[in-house]
């Protein structure tokens, strides 16, 4: 594989490095939070779950956002084959995010919350994040002046950059009292913004993965093809309209649910295409599996298949009621954030940070452990979800404490597989830090 590096990748690589530190933090906080399931009340009087959970979730989300931005900036340079314009703004962008992410994590330790699920921090920090994103947008748009004759990945980045800012601002609309005091409307808008926001960062990440695939293939045939654009528009359509599947049980306007249901079913096309192409995907995988970034791309492909399958099942309202509010949803989130997002981001990291063959064995072992422990982790959550669901449907007045007790053995498995998962991440991340030292 040609390793393209230009002299400016260094400060875009800092996004990846800072992101990797956040990933490590997410793993540590995640283990601490998971131990609260295995050993209930463990942290109650010292560092309770309402602190541990946001520390874990925000570190994970910030890892994804930072590394996604880093991949876009690095690959954009490679795409343009010249230094980024407004490089000094990139530094501002980096420090704006680094400052706000650090401040947010510290504020959690002091029990300061805005208290919205997933974005639990105080709304003051939203200003810095939005400003940082604004700078990113300026840098991006001034380096991509037009969409004309651009490959699909530039369209995807463009969409991700714009829609993230929109949905992020939307997720702060609860600050308007008229909106927040109507609980149903508040939750509808909240989940509308979250659904599209995840779609937005996926546009950045999937865009980068198309770029990297092309780079490995050595041509840009795919990113100008009709099918690539057809899939992009299908993805965009889903980003905009499929979010209703998060709130089928919320008594909001019925059309929200019908639109969410109908639009989500168009993802069957993507699912069908993966099945249809599995043979050729497998032979491409055999050919390129020795390339480290490709390995992670291939793992992400497998997780896309599993996660999408589960997501489509959850998008049918009559099946959704059996899974909504249970650990099956957590399994889906973990499949998406670890199996898909983190695998892809690691692929980018391995492309952006130069590697020698010195750690090949360790990376291979880590890679195997990562995927196998994630599989156990994922399955355990699905099993726990099914048990919770079964009890909810068969014992209408079930005692919550009893149900948690019956899940206990699964929480042990969940915690132990989580430990292996964290160890595996360490194994695959460490060579990146060492590579950086050499680079």
């Amino acid at each position: 594989m040609e390793q393209y590096h230009n002299h400016n990748t260094k400060h875009t690589a800092s996004f990846i490095i800072a992101g990797l530190f956040l990933l490590l933090a997410a793993l540590l906080f995640g283990l601490a939070a998971a131990s609260e399931y295995a050993f209930p009340g463990l942290w109650r009087n010292t560092f309770s779950f309402e602190k541990l959970r946001p520390l874990h979730v925000s570190s994970a989300v910030f890892w994804i956002i930072l590394a996604a931005m880093g991949s876009v900036l690095s690959f954009l340079q490679q795409h343009r084959e010249e230094k980024l314009k407004y490089g000094f703004l990139v530094k501002w962008q980096f420090f704006m995010f680094l400052f706000s992410f650090t401040a947010i994590l510290i504020s959690y330790c002091f029990g300061i919350f805005g208290g919205r699920e997933y974005w639990e921090f105080h709304p003051v920090f939203s200003v810095f994040i939005a400003a940082g994103w604004g700078i990113f947008m300026i840098v991006f748009l001034s380096n991509v002046k037009t969409l004309k004759q651009q490959p699909v990945y530039v369209w995807m980045w463009f969409t991700g950059v714009l829609f993230f800012l929109f949905t992020y601002i939307e997720s702060n609309l609860w600050l308007i009292p008229a909106l927040r005091n109507d609980l149903i409307k508040d939750m509808t808008v909240q989940w509308k913004s979250y659904g599209s926001m995840v779609g937005s960062w996926n546009m950045l990440i999937y865009g980068s993965s198309v770029f990297l695939m092309d780079k490995i293939a050595g041509n840009k045939k795919y990113s100008f093809s009709t099918i690539a654009f057809a899939l992009y528009f299908l993805g965009l359509f889903n980003l905009m309209f499929n979010w209703g599947h998060h709130i089928y049980t919320l008594p909001t306007q019925p059309y929200v649910k019908h639109i969410g249901y109908a639009v989500s079913m168009t993802e069957l096309f993507i699912f069908g295409r993966i099945i249809y192409l599995w043979r050729s995907s497998l032979s491409t995988a055999r050919k390129n599996f020795h390339i480290i970034p490709f390995k992670f791309l291939a793992a992400a492909d497998a997780w896309i298949f599993l996660t999408l399958g589960l997501a489509i099942a959850m998008s049918v309202p009559a099946l959704n009621v059996y899974m909504h509010g249970t650990h099956t949803v957590v399994a889906h989130t973990m499949g998406a954030t670890i199996g898909i997002n983190s695998m892809l981001l690691l692929a980018f990291a391995y492309d952006i940070i130069p590697q020698t063959n010195a750690f090949k064995k360790q990376i291979n072992r880590g890679y195997l452990l990562l995927n196998s422990s994630l599989a156990v982790f994922w399955l355990t959550l699905i099993i726990a979800g099914f048990i919770k669901s079964y009890r909810q449907f068969t014992e209408p007045q079930f005692a919550y404490g009893d149900m948690m007790k019956s899940l206990h053995p699964w929480f042990y498995v969940f915690f132990i597989s989580g430990c292996f998962l964290a160890a595996a991440f360490f194994m695959v991340i460490l060579p990146l830090f060492k590579g950086l030292k050499r680079g």
Partner: protein
């Protein structure tokens, strides 16, 4: 290959549809429920500031360490709820809430209960895959 003009047309049309849909949702009334009263509004802010969502769900959305509280006001007595607010549980922390804060949170949970029913078993399931409240 799809022409640039066609791609741009698709992007603009989809975005316009998205923005219209967004505006519709911001301004549409969800008429079925009354907005929260002042005390419940205070309770909602406390709910957020104390990050109760980390462990509890409303309408199945939220954490998994504690139970869904959408209809706790209907299924438990006020005394029962207040006891938890006062002392927590072996897992739920004791927030040292003042009497005023406890009343506000109780009023919020009372309000949430008026907005609908969350228990998954209460939904009617239809053969076309949709569901509805009974």
């Amino acid at each position: 290959m799809i022409s640039f003009r066609y791609k741009l047309f698709l992007l603009v049309t989809l975005s316009a549809a998205f923005l219209s849909y967004s505006a519709l949702l911001y301004f549409a009334d969800s008429k079925e429920t009354q907005p929260a009263n002042a005390l419940a509004q205070k309770g909602k802010m406390l709910w957020q500031q104390k990050n109760c969502t980390a462990c509890h769900q409303l309408y199945g959305l939220g954490g998994h360490l504690g139970p869904d509280l959408t209809n706790v006001y209907a299924t438990r007595t006020e005394e029962h709820i207040t006891t938890y607010l006062k002392y927590g549980s072996p897992v739920m922390p004791d927030y040292n809430l003042s009497a005023e804060e406890q009343t506000a949170l109780l009023e919020f949970l009372k309000y949430v209960n008026t907005t609908g029913v969350a228990h998954p078993a209460s939904f009617l399931k239809h053969t076309n895959g949709t569901i509805s409240q009974p």
